[in-house]
Symmetry: C2
Subunit: 455 residues, 2 copies
Amino acid sequence: MQSVLNYLTQNQDRFVAELCDYLRFASVSAQPQHKKDLLACAKWLLAHCRKIGLDARLCPTAGHPIVIAKTRRANNSAKPHFMVYGHYDVQPPEPLDLWKSPPFEPRIVGKNLFARGSTDNKGQNFAHLKAVEAYIKTGTPLPCDLTFVLEGEEEVGSKNLSTFLKAHRQELACEAIVVSDTGMPAPQHPALTYALRGIIAFEITLHGPARDLHSGIFGGAVENPAMALSQLLAKVRDENGRVKIPGFYNGVAPLSKYEREQIRRYPLSDAGLKKLIGAPQLFGEKGFTATEQRSSRPTFEINGLTSGYQGEGSKTIVPSWARAKVTCRLVPNQKPAHVRKIVCAWLKKNCPPSVRMEISAGHGAEAYLVSPTSKPAQAALCALEKAFGTKPILMREGGSIPIVNEFKKVLGADTLLLGIGLPDDNAHSPNEKFNLDCFVNGQRMSAFLWKELTR
Amino acid sequence: MQSVLNYLTQNQDRFVAELCDYLRFASVSAQPQHKKDLLACAKWLLAHCRKIGLDARLCPTAGHPIVIAKTRRANNSAKPHFMVYGHYDVQPPEPLDLWKSPPFEPRIVGKNLFARGSTDNKGQNFAHLKAVEAYIKTGTPLPCDLTFVLEGEEEVGSKNLSTFLKAHRQELACEAIVVSDTGMPAPQHPALTYALRGIIAFEITLHGPARDLHSGIFGGAVENPAMALSQLLAKVRDENGRVKIPGFYNGVAPLSKYEREQIRRYPLSDAGLKKLIGAPQLFGEKGFTATEQRSSRPTFEINGLTSGYQGEGSKTIVPSWARAKVTCRLVPNQKPAHVRKIVCAWLKKNCPPSVRMEISAGHGAEAYLVSPTSKPAQAALCALEKAFGTKPILMREGGSIPIVNEFKKVLGADTLLLGIGLPDDNAHSPNEKFNLDCFVNGQRMSAFLWKELTR
């Protein structure tokens, strides 16, 4: 193991130079004019994987190709098999005028490497490639077989990944998937994300009069849809921040003592969070800390309200309709279809007869959970601690990452989310960057991980 | 009296031709390019008033001139003095492509005269001029002195009328003002409008986080301003349609038995109203009929709601702020400043500490009431009945007409609102028209009115 770690230390300058080459491709999957840049990037990655000693191939899809790279395994290898997932496509760099240097001309300032895709996700997946290179080039036997799946459509919804997974179900069958595409709270706080929230989205529209009415001539004798909507939405949440729709919390498992202890270690105080969001005060479900509320509890969130006149000054109307856009964040064990059903039924039951309700359904995604006390999770925590030299944080993320549900569904395997991005990395924003200490420690974490996972 | 009525009958064709001349002026006060058309129209009106035997003059203002026309009175006339108010300016005719014939080329189809300004207000004020012409030309002594005040800025807010009234307070001192600029429910249902609702307008904004937040990362630990606004607005009205803000109904006089009987005569059934507005059902304050609710009861009306994302699909945010535009309709005895004060104080008291409230004040106007059992109101009802041959309706209007408050404030006199426009006259819309039966009966009503008022 020491020779692997030494190799990583000794070759750091070259690794950074190679990462810069990787970052020079404008592999913007959302923009058709960059199709050839995506192909060029995939081909460069293919060649690089081969150069470091992996068996690699390009798999065409209906969109951009997927790079598959595998450690060479003996026939009938009895070693456990793991998959590493990453993506070589990047977000659009616009607005360009906010970048301090061109997005596809990597620039190092102190400990930071600036470029589009540096943290999301090229830098993070490259760390795993460099760890496996160290094993191969030092002749250190890997305790497992590895397959890298590097796709080019993550930023446009991984539209062709599911088909690919299903077609290669046998080849990709594995113990677990490792994904470094999330974050850690600070350079000294490595983290394993073991849970994600799910989501359901929908739109409620209440229809009243056939058209906007003069509020002088008709006001008082007709329901105001904006008032009806306010009264309906108001009933959803009580003064303790709890959703009042019966059954909404069905199946939600209480946080274990262990999890609550771990969540308390998350390095952001209530005062720090309040400052970060700039609200008059924090507000959430009673009985839970702010970190628990935003990572481990379901919500009913109004994302937008629209009704009547919205311009300057006043317009004396009774609006014809009122609309709320809503998303509910879900936690493990809440089934999106079930929650959608009971929420919609409750809304319909509580809608007054003075308006006509229309509910249009949007997207949905399941929550995700890997038990933090499971063997792979504990192995990942050990690898993080050895690599970074400090005790890692066990995190739940409040957002959703649909591909992990896809992995579970198609391959039946859990995903370890071992992100090495920082909160100030500007993912999806101008001046995206990647911390080079995180790059080094990420390689070390990957090197330790395969040992810990097979212990 | 019979000779006056005969004169009106015998000269109807000429009156219509003269009204067409009046309507040919494109006296659009909102559009600067029509300044010369307004002046030309005022001069034509001046000449016409002189021709029918009135003492008339043009009074310049900071905007368009006011035409003053008076019956000739002996020195130290002991006759009571009444004022007739009207306006010769018109609404912009746009959109022009929706007109079936050009807006300033009057066209008669059956009983209707189509032209911009026909019902609002040239046709209506011209009826009063024709009645006084009949008195003068037949040598019938008028039982009162009359002053016509015909302004050119009603459609742009009568900005210079108040200054004019104050400067001519003595000359205009009168028993009452007569205005035909409202409506009647149907050709066979003449009406006296004896009350108008007042109004206050304001905007409530609730500020939460400093910017829109990711609902996955932060949702659950921060107040959603759209939810806070919904919960605040929901508290305003109970399930019986009553405003729950303490003191809101202070001073509101109950409707008398006589008024309620009169209101019941308004020829629009609940089914008819429901069909007219196209709502799933009628809804209003319990204990009042729909006609009472929309004419005689105060309201708290949300005119618009704005918060967060309003485009296609969904955007997973906690909005930074949420806003409601509100107008309250007020009834006689409710003081706008007082109602504004108690409503704002209540909103502030009920705003949760998780958001910051901002209330911006808009316009306000007092309600208006002439007792329907007062002598002038009863006289007007007699005149209407004699002119139209059917029992008139006693109406309250749900909207506001600010000039009547101005008349009361400056001249200390009540206004009789004797509108002869019909609901389908398309005032302010393309294909505005005026019913020629209403024109004839309006002249007769005016002729009878001076007798009844001085009986």
